[in-house]
Structure formats: structure tokens, C-alpha cells
């Protein structure tokens, strides 16, 4: 998992360059925080499902997943801004 995260972090730099995004330190920081929260949401939701708490897991994924999608769209708009 750590290996995958490292690849993702390095790729993100090239991805931003390809998309010609003007990244700075605070844009990277917010993106990193968002990515951590996304990981926690996925991990938390599926852990609950794995622990036979299907309803709680679906609630968790539904609520926080939606929040992550909405904040993700907001983040894209923010990153694209000059």
C-alpha cells in the first residue's frame, strides 16, 4: 500500500505538469489533505463492511463519499484558478 501511495504522489507531480496546472505549496497541501481524507473514507467504509456492519459501512461511504466528491469538485475548481 505504501508503494502504491509513493507512486501516486510522484505521478501527481507529472499529472499536474501535463494538465498545465499552476500548483503552489498551499494547493499541494489541500490536495494532500483531501487525498488522506479520501483514503480514510474508503478504508473506514470497507472496514465496517468487513466487520459485518453492512448498514453502517454503506452509511459511512454514502455520507463521507458524497462529501469527498463534492469537496473534490471544489478542489479542482480551486486548483484551476490562478
Amino acid at each position: 500500500m505504501g508503494f502504491l501511495y509513493t507512486i501516486f504522489a510522484i505521478s501527481a507531480v507529472y499529472w499536474a505538469k501535463d494538465l498545465k496546472l499552476k500548483m503552489n505549496w498551499w494547493k499541494w497541501s489541500i490536495s494532500a489533505v483531501w487525498f488522506i481524507f479520501l483514503s480514510v473514507t474508503i478504508a473506514g467504509g470497507f472496514t465496517l463492511i468487513g466487520e459485518n456492519e453492512l448498514r453502517a459501512g454503506l452509511y459511512f461511504l454514502g455520507v463521507f463519499g458524497t462529501v469527498m466528491i463534492v469537496s473534490g469538485v471544489g478542489l479542482i475548481q480551486l486548483i484551476r484558478s490562478k
Partner: protein
């Protein structure tokens, strides 16, 4: 051409109004379960001997343990309509069992009451205590339903024993009423302000106040099931819920005066939520070539649902909005799925729920049509 359009409007209004009146007539004449039938659901004839004392009181004799208790049936108005409660009281005037005899509340809210073991709180309480105060705690997130059950218990006992009860006086004007009035005034003022910056500031202030207070804190947008309940004669207690009358009559009066739908534009908390989502995703106005067809589908569904709710005398049928799913996370799986789709769409399309799905939008379209039909009568 104008005459043809006016005629079409008036014909539509007559057809829709006639259908609604007919549905109310059918609904009000539906045979309901008798009190005796309700009691026999919980107390089988083979195990109990039941003797009626008056309209709200019965004596039940348990054949197996030769025990005699009293049974009361009371009703009160909840969120959508009537809530009936049946309860058994022993010789020491202590409540032994409480049953939800019948109700017209939204199932997800009533499920909360059951899940939180609300009825079990009644056990062992002195029934006379209900006349003076509230000896049980309301369930958070289902307060109106909880209070209706408490009130039904009080009414059942008071009517069964022929006790006249002085009702608790609630303040007519509270925080919620002030917020609703502010939202209406702000909505009207906004349409008159020419300064763009000031209008924008007021608009965002209104959006956040509506979302936080009317949405998340009080969760009291106008709901379709409540409007259906109103048509069936279930009027909320105006002392307890004066805000509802301000919301409802305010919205209609403003449409009649200046043709503007202020409720949907400035007061509705879910509309406010969609505005924030639209800003987040820089959403665009969606006006496809088939826009009119989509509007027709929205209105057709709203009309069909309300006719079903009215003719079956069950306002719960009309409860297909996503408000409680969004503000209280209380709804069934289908509504949660619809809410998810609406949230995602709101990021790219301006107010998809309001424009293509909300039944309240259709209600105000009907009010506008009523206005047009009335004003059209004295136009040449």
C-alpha cells in the same frame, strides 16, 4: 392566440382542481378501522373480555389470570396527520402497555420512535402525570411525532375520564418564526435592490441562514406530505407551529401579489444547498429542447402522487422529497440514492431538484395557474 392560451390555462386549472376535490372526497369517505377492530388487533377475543365504557375507555378482563385493567384510546395530530395511541392502565393507575394504534407519520421517522424504545418509556408511569407535564422524553429528530404520541395519551385519558384539561400555552412567535419572516422579507427586498454587490451579499446571507436554521437545525421546509395532510383537514396546531402557516400562506400571498415564487428562490433550505453546490462546481443553467417535456413529467408525477395520497387518505404516500435524507439522514434507501444523484447533478446543473423533480415547485405552479385563471376572468 392569447385567448386560446387563457382558455387552455383555465381548462387545466378546472381539471386539476376537480381531480383534487374528487380525491379529497373519496379519501374522506374511506371506511376506517373501527376502534373495536383496533383493540382486537392487540387484545384477542379468545384471551380477553372487552367492555366499552365510553368512546375512549374500555375495561379488559384477562381470562387466563383473572386480572382487570383499563384501556384508553386517544389521538392527536402529528407531522402529516392523526396519531392514535392505545394504552393499558392497571388498578394503581400505572401504564402497563402502550401501542401505536394507527398513524400517518413518515415511516422513517416513526421507525426512529420504535428504534429508540420510546413506547417503553411509558411503562410504569402514572397516567395522571400526562395531564400536568411530559413524563417521557421526546425522541431527538422525531420531536413532532413524539409530542403527538404524548398528546394522544393525554387526550385519551382526559376524554376517557371526562376531565377537562387546560392546554399548555406555547409562545406564538419564536426563533423559527423570526427566521422564516426574515427569509421572506429578504426575498422580497432582494428583487427590488438594484445594487448588484448588495444584492449578492444579501443573497448569500439568506442562503446560509436558510440552510443552517431552516434546514439543519429545525429541518422545516414545506413538505408535500404535509400539504396533502392539509388538504385532508389535518391542520397543525397554530400555537405550536405558527411558522408553518407563515411559510405556507406567505408563499401563496406573495405569488398572488407580485407573481414571484419567493419560497423556492429564497426560503427553501434545499434550494440553498443546491445553490452552494452549484457555486462549488460552477454549474450552468440546463435548458434543453425537451425542457417543457421534463416539466410536464415533474408536474404529472406530483399530481398523480397527491391524488393517490388524498384518495387513500394517507399523506405519507406524498412523501418523496429528499429533504429529510439531506438534513437529518432519515429516509429509505431509494431516497438516499435519489439524493446522491441530485447532489452530483447540482455540481454541474443549477438546481436540478427544483427544476425537474420537486413537487413543491409544481404546487406553486398550480398557485400561479390559479392566479392566471382568476385574473383571466375579467380580461378581454
Amino acid at each position: 392566440m392569447r385567448f386560446v392560451e387563457r382558455f387552455k390555462n383555465q381548462l387545466t386549472w378546472i381539471v386539476v382542481t376537480s381531480l383534487i376535490v374528487l380525491a379529497v372526497f373519496i379519501g374522506k369517505n374511506r371506511s376506517e378501522q373501527s376502534k373495536q377492530e383496533i383493540i382486537q388487533q392487540y387484545y384477542l377475543e379468545s384471551k380477553y373480555q372487552i367492555r366499552q365504557v365510553n368512546q375512549n375507555k374500555w375495561i379488559i378482563y384477562d381470562i387466563s389470570d383473572h386480572n382487570e385493567n383499563l384501556l384508553y384510546l386517544g389521538k392527536a395530530y402529528g407531522y402529516n396527520g392523526e396519531v392514535e395511541v392505545l394504552f393499558e392502565v392497571d388498578k394503581d393507575s400505572l401504564i402497563q402497555k402502550t401501542f401505536p394504534a394507527s398513524h400517518q407519520e413518515t415511516p422513517s421517522y416513526f421507525d426512529k420512535i420504535i428504534e429508540k424504545h420510546f413506547f417503553e418509556q411509558f411503562q410504569g408511569k402514572k397516567v395522571a402525570e400526562f395531564l400536568k407535564n411530559k413524563p417521557v422524553n421526546a425522541v431527538s429528530g422525531a420531536t413532532i411525532t413524539s409530542n403527538a404520541i404524548i398528546q394522544a395519551t393525554k387526550n385519551g385519558y382526559a376524554q376517557g375520564e371526562n376531565i377537562s384539561v387546560t392546554e399548555t400555552k406555547y409562545p406564538l412567535f419564536g426563533m423559527l418564526e423570526i427566521i422564516v419572516l426574515y427569509l421572506f422579507v429578504a426575498g422580497i427586498v432582494m428583487s427590488k435592490i438594484k445594487n448588484q454587490k448588495l444584492r449578492k451579499t444579501l443573497r448569500w446571507l439568506t442562503i446560509f441562514i436558510s440552510l443552517i436554521f431552516l434546514g439543519f437545525i429545525y429541518n422545516q421546509p414545506i413538505s408535500y406530505s404535509r400539504l396533502s395532510g392539509l388538504l385532508l383537514g389535518n391542520f397543525p396546531d397554530w400555537h405550536k407551529e405558527f411558522y408553518f402557516y407563515i411559510l405556507f400562506t406567505g408563499s401563496i400571498v406573495i405569488i398572488f401579489i407580485n407573481r414571484k415564487n419567493v419560497y423556492c428562490h429564497s426560503v427553501c433550505p434545499f434550494g440553498a444547498a443546491q445553490e452552494i453546490l452549484a457555486k462549488t462546481g460552477r454549474a450552468k443553467v440546463f435548458r434543453p429542447a425537451y425542457y417543457k417535456k421534463l416539466k410536464f413529467v415533474q408536474r404529472f408525477i406530483a399530481l398523480t402522487v397527491v391524488l393517490a395520497a388524498l384518495s387513500l387518505n394517507n399523506p405519507v404516500i406524498a412523501n418523496y422529497e429528499v429533504f429529510s435524507a439531506f438534513f437529518q439522514l432519515t429516509a429509505n434507501a431509494i431516497l438516499f440514492a435519489v439524493l446522491f444523484i441530485v447532489i452530483i447533478l447540482s455540481l454541474f446543473i443549477k438546481r436540478p431538484w427544483c427544476h425537474f423533480m420537486c413537487p413543491i415547485d409544481s404546487v406553486f405552479d398550480y398557485v400561479k395557474l390559479t392566479r392566471k385563471s382568476i385574473t383571466g376572468l375579467w380580461k378581454k
